[in-house]
Symmetry: C2
Subunit: 350 residues, 2 copies
Amino acid sequence: MCGGIGSRFWPYSRTDKPKQFIDFFGTGRSLLQMTYDRMVRLVPADHILVVTNERYEQLVKEQLPDVKPENILSEPDRRNTAPCIAWAAYHIGALDPEASIIVTPSDHLIMREAAFEECVERGFDFIDSHDALLTIGITPTRPETGYGYIQIGDEVSPGFMKVKTFTEKPDLELARVFVDTGEFFWNAGIFLWKVDTIKRALAKYLPDLDGIFCSGADKFGTSCEKEFIDCTFPSAPSISIDFGVMEKADNVYVECADLGWSDLGTWSSLYEISPKNIAGNVTQKCNVMAYDSSGNIFMAPDGKLVVVSGLKDFIVADAGDVLLICPKGEEQRIRQMVNEVNQRFDDKFM
Amino acid sequence: MCGGIGSRFWPYSRTDKPKQFIDFFGTGRSLLQMTYDRMVRLVPADHILVVTNERYEQLVKEQLPDVKPENILSEPDRRNTAPCIAWAAYHIGALDPEASIIVTPSDHLIMREAAFEECVERGFDFIDSHDALLTIGITPTRPETGYGYIQIGDEVSPGFMKVKTFTEKPDLELARVFVDTGEFFWNAGIFLWKVDTIKRALAKYLPDLDGIFCSGADKFGTSCEKEFIDCTFPSAPSISIDFGVMEKADNVYVECADLGWSDLGTWSSLYEISPKNIAGNVTQKCNVMAYDSSGNIFMAPDGKLVVVSGLKDFIVADAGDVLLICPKGEEQRIRQMVNEVNQRFDDKFM
């Protein structure tokens, strides 16, 4: 899944080059490329599909030259994750009705790759033998209020639990309780299922959405597929797979693992997972000389020198044409700022 | 006088283009050019001399194409103001021993130009009739701790007072007393004198320095002048005219005026004299959207968007390859930071 716009990472994440296409860590690989690198060890290269927005098709081709053009599914419109997943399920189903699918965001970080591989392999085994919608639960390492949590129920097989509830993002007090009980895991938005299982769930819980794809069932995998999608996709309800299916279905299971995972949803989450210097500052790419400054994250163009004094717990993100300076604790306001910048300058800084 | 390096305005003021060459206000004219514009209304254009460092000779020529090359005195070394002023006095004396001279920094701001013109014209009249070293005292508008003060003595002619003392930069408490008494004025570093008066003062109070120039008296105004300067100037003592002459001489007078003057010596002084928006923020050139932010000064490349939240009383100076974020109250540390940057990156960001 590669169609998001990542507005919380503005001004680095921009409409014409969102977060998943950015090399956040200066390693030479974008988050999308890192996701591809991770998946190609688990799945044959020509079985990897990228569902993205039309406007990013060219970027995907540039960043993932090994992905064949026919494996890039370009959405004509942004409709959240359920239509994206439905399309992929119908497309894959047309190629192989028995296929197992893993669905993953392209803009998350997983640092423990070996653990991830083992987890996914075990997950594929599980869905081979269970009619399951399987999600990956991440062992929480802190009372994070920015994530949804999964409460686990009975263990049905070693390491696999029935999901009791999905929760919205909790407040800090509740998040602490969640972590202390040991019953709650972060919802990573990574799913495994068989084609048949997800199609039945879509038909049951999102019949309107499923109806659209079902009506073109003979077109998937053919030269008519794209035209069909262009005509019908924009009328699909905009809804997430979590809200539309996972929270409603009764065959939802979770495999819990400690993967060094972060959704990199916010500057603070990037701060959390990044190595810090002795003053607790995180530096991405740029040179920083910090005086009386701690708990900050600095990001600036390659080679730029940032000299700061007296700054505590701030995000300093210099994207060349835009400089953002914002307390880490206020970053939920970045979305609002982006909206106001958009109103005032049209698309100039988007 | 145009040879300074303006390190307190780093990262805008740089070794290869110091403060006086910068268009701080986005008006299309640098501080040097604004100084020229001010002087050319008072002095015939071909009587204006620019004393600068060799390395800035080309910049001066570019910014002041109307100044003839022979009117640019290029110092081979930085030796503070006394040698600069001595050279100019000997140079002018060779052309016209009866000349009156006004000496002015090229990196200050004067906003009340009509008052300045009137002040200078009255000053020239005064030194025509008095054997005086005349300095301009600025009516203080606040208890500024960054300036030297002049204490006035007896009035010798309307508007002209004997100088009682020059003071070093006071602490805040003392500065408040200074302002309250009405006896203290800011030392603007603008001087008026006759050639003969300053030469006698140099001979009396800085005999070593004067001896150097005196030894080449026949060379000034000839084709041998520059070679003589290149040989001897570097051996001149590095000393300011204030410390070397003005604080010691007994024929020092002051003309006090309210000129809308600022030495623009610091970011804070730029903040003080600049128009502020309702939140008390000053914006130079760039677009700024400020949330919960007040008392800041923002400077960034033309057209750059700066979005800030939760910043109080800071300098934010983005010079393209360097970003400085520093509390206004800490800016005396900028010099130290510049030194450390210099040590760490050689001349790269100087």
